[in-house]
């Protein structure tokens, strides 16, 4: 059982007061190679010997700990890829499960190096919370899970419905905006924890539970009778989700952004965990050679070794491999790639060039 909210708030207050500023954590002259760029977060991660990654409390497919404490999921894979890029070892990560309410405070008080927990990028979060969203690893869209017996197959049929939601999520606001815009009535029951909201929906307290399409596919696995529920395929929002870092360490933001870009680019170039060694040795594509460290010194420019992306892809795989293994057809969630497909194949995933 987790702490009560007042305790969390108290701890959070204390954390805000006591946390050393990111720039204070900087170890002077740790990286003499590039003294001009301060790298406080990378230096702290190196000194600590592992990456601290804030993840979801438990969302199958995204970040979920199995009964042996082994974390898997597409968000977890990003943490592992970053650890592989820094240490050459994808296992050097410690995961901190965070609730919807805690997550920003856990990040801004330096308890984690980044959040990778299906958090939607929004204007006010980016502008007022002291956060930087550095990429998109999942294009999510908000929808609803309803009981098959209810006969509902469109959001427009839900006038007057009671809907369970997690308090403080983007979904909490979006569902109310959407219903108001379409002149429909609803009752929102907002829980502090996703799992309580899901449990209340499962007990028929609500007609629907709302979250992202991908998140619902994961949460459906945890209902008493998953096949008696349907996830509506239409979405009422556009929720790009991705890793979040603290404002103020531009270098760390670059590092996280380019590890993610590297995973997506690797899929576009056909680099997989299986063929990455062969690609490094014999690819004739200059961009691939730069990415994998066969040419140039891109890794060093980030303060890493030149085989940073090689290690990440070797140990974690490219974006497509990660997607299929965690949320795609090889997983219980069986999500289509949809918009999360490469731009080459009709999706909207895109990465700038490695030049």
């Amino acid at each position: 059982m987790r702490f009560a909210t007042p305790l969390i708030a108290g701890a959070l207050l204390a954390a805000l007061f006591n946390a050393p500023a990111p720039s204070l954590a900087q170890a002077p002259a740790a990286q003499p190679a590039a003294p001009s760029v301060p790298r406080p977060t990378l230096d702290a991660v190196r000194a600590r010997g592992h990456l601290e990654c804030g993840v979801h409390l438990g969302l199958p497919g995204f970040s979920f700990a199995d009964n042996t404490g082994n974390w898997t999921g597409i968000d977890v894979d990003l943490c592992r890829a970053i650890a592989a890029a820094i240490f050459g070892d994808a296992t050097k990560v410690r995961y901190t499960p965070t609730s919807v309410q805690q997550r920003w405070a856990v990040l801004t008080s330096n308890q984690v190096d980044l959040l990778s927990r299906n958090s939607t990028i929004t204007f006010s979060r980016d502008v007022t919370l002291g956060l930087d969203f550095v990429g998109i690893n999942f294009y999510e869209g908000q929808t609803f899970i309803v009981r098959r017996a209810s006969g509902v197959n469109s959001v427009r049929q839900m006038d007057g419905a009671t809907i369970c939601v997690a308090a403080g999520s983007t979904e909490e606001r979006q569902v109310q905006d959407y219903f108001q815009e379409n002149n429909m009535r609803l009752t929102v029951i907002n829980f502090q924890r996703n799992e309580d909201a899901v449990a209340a929906y499962d007990a028929e307290r609500c007609d629907a539970y709302t979250a992202g399409l991908g998140a619902l596919a994961g949460q459906r696995q945890r209902l008493r009778a998953p096949d008696q529920h349907v996830i509506l395929q239409e979405t009422i929002s556009n929720d790009p989700q991705g890793p979040v870092v603290r404002q103020g360490d531009a270098h760390w933001g670059d590092l996280v952004r380019w590890v993610l870009n590297g995973m997506i680019a690797a899929e576009a170039f056909g680099i997989t965990s299986q063929n990455v060694e062969q690609q490094r040795a014999s690819s004739r594509n200059a961009e691939v050679r730069r990415m994998l460290g066969a040419e140039g010194n891109f890794g060093q420019m980030l303060g890493l070794s030149n085989d940073w992306l090689f290690n990440a892809i070797k140990q974690v795989g490219n974006y497509g491999e990660s997607f299929e293994r965690t949320v795609g057809m090889q997983s219980p969630l069986r999500l289509e790639r949809g918009r999360n497909q490469l731009w080459l194949r009709g999706g909207i995933l895109f990465t700038p060039p490695f030049q």
């Binding site: 059982m1 009560a4 909210t5 007042p6 708030a9 108290g10 959070l12 207050l13 805000l16 007061f17 946390a19 500023a21 990111p22 720039s23 919807v100 309410q101 920003w104 405070a105 801004t108 006010s124 979060r125 502008v127 007022t128 919370l129 002291g130 839900m158 006038d159 007057g160 419905a161 009671t162 369970c164 308090a167 403080g168 999520s169 909490e172 606001r173 109310q176 905006d177 108001q180 009752t187 929102v188 029951i189 907002n190 829980f191 502090q192 924890r193 309580d196 909201a197 449990a199 209340a200 007990a203 028929e204 307290r205 007609d207 603290r246 404002q247 103020g248």
Partner: protein, 390 residues
Amino acid sequence: MSKRTGLSRYLFDRRVLDAVTQVAVVGGLCALIWYFVSNASDQLVRGGIASGFDFLWRSSGVDVPVKLIPHANASSYANLLLVGVLNTLLVSAIGIVIATVLGFAIGIARLSRNWLLARLCGAFIEFVRNIPLLFFVLAWYFVIVNMLPPLRQSLSPGAGIFLNNRGLYIPWPDQPSRFLAVPAAFLAGAVVFWLVRRWAAARRARTGRGFPVGTVGGILMLGLPLAAALGAGAASVWDVPVRGGFNFRGGIVLIPEFVAIVVALATYTAGFIAEIVRGGILAVSKGQIEAAQALGLKHGEILRLIVVPQAMRAIVPPLTSQYLNLIKNSSFGAFIAFPETVSVFLGSTLTQTGQAIEIAAITLAIYLAISLAVSALMNWYNRFVAIPTR
């Protein structure tokens, strides 16, 4: 020994030393607070985190199912906070009334000579006092939601009343203000009762004859309000709940989140109050009761005139702490989606705006204000039950 002179006289003066120490402690405390505040604001500026109280007037985008004042999702965060505070006060007030009645009943029954009753009450007290409240709240909630039938199989005892796991739906009058006649009738009854009692006491002093004060009081204070309620009910047009597509429409609904938090708080706190009541009664010395018996007072009179007034003296101060606990514990409602202060403000508002320091400070101030007000009220009441001293 020569008398100390000049500076040394002040140095060794107890009052001067005390003053210096106090100034040093207060100064140190202020410096510490200043350090924390400046550190935090520094941190906010460096981290690019917004601060200030402007967010209170922005639209919250959040609506809640229980509200005592008008609120829609276009209303401001300040209005949302007010909704939450009123809900906190509502569950606290109802919880305190039920907990007090239940606590007194169980505490007295615990002292009963009936073996079964005393043991049952003892078992209840030990049970609730020894489990964590969060578990208790969640258990009540999920028991209610899982045990009551779903919407399709709603129970209905007739008269437009429906019960399912979304709540208890009851008809609601078009003008609830008509029912203000009920408390008015009660007050009128109480005033008349007070006059009758004075008259009866004066007559007894004069003639020695008794008067059935209790029966007359019962008729005045229960019968009059009942008649007023029936009258107001007959005059009203009732909005009866009807089954709509997803829910019942019309009427008013008592949602399970509300019932669960009130029941959990009341039963939990009743366990503690029962022990306080038992302690208070046992604190009245046995000699007092024997003396009262020797004077020929009846059992009821002994309780009313001798035991209760002296027991209250021991009961009221710890009872105040239990009331304060109950008010603070109402924040556990956040875990079962009851929209009280912590849920709407430390939950929804905090995650949407991210202004942790301001929001935590406002929430602390609100709980502090409520607690101090309740303490003041209980201290005022305590002056009446305390033994008058000269």
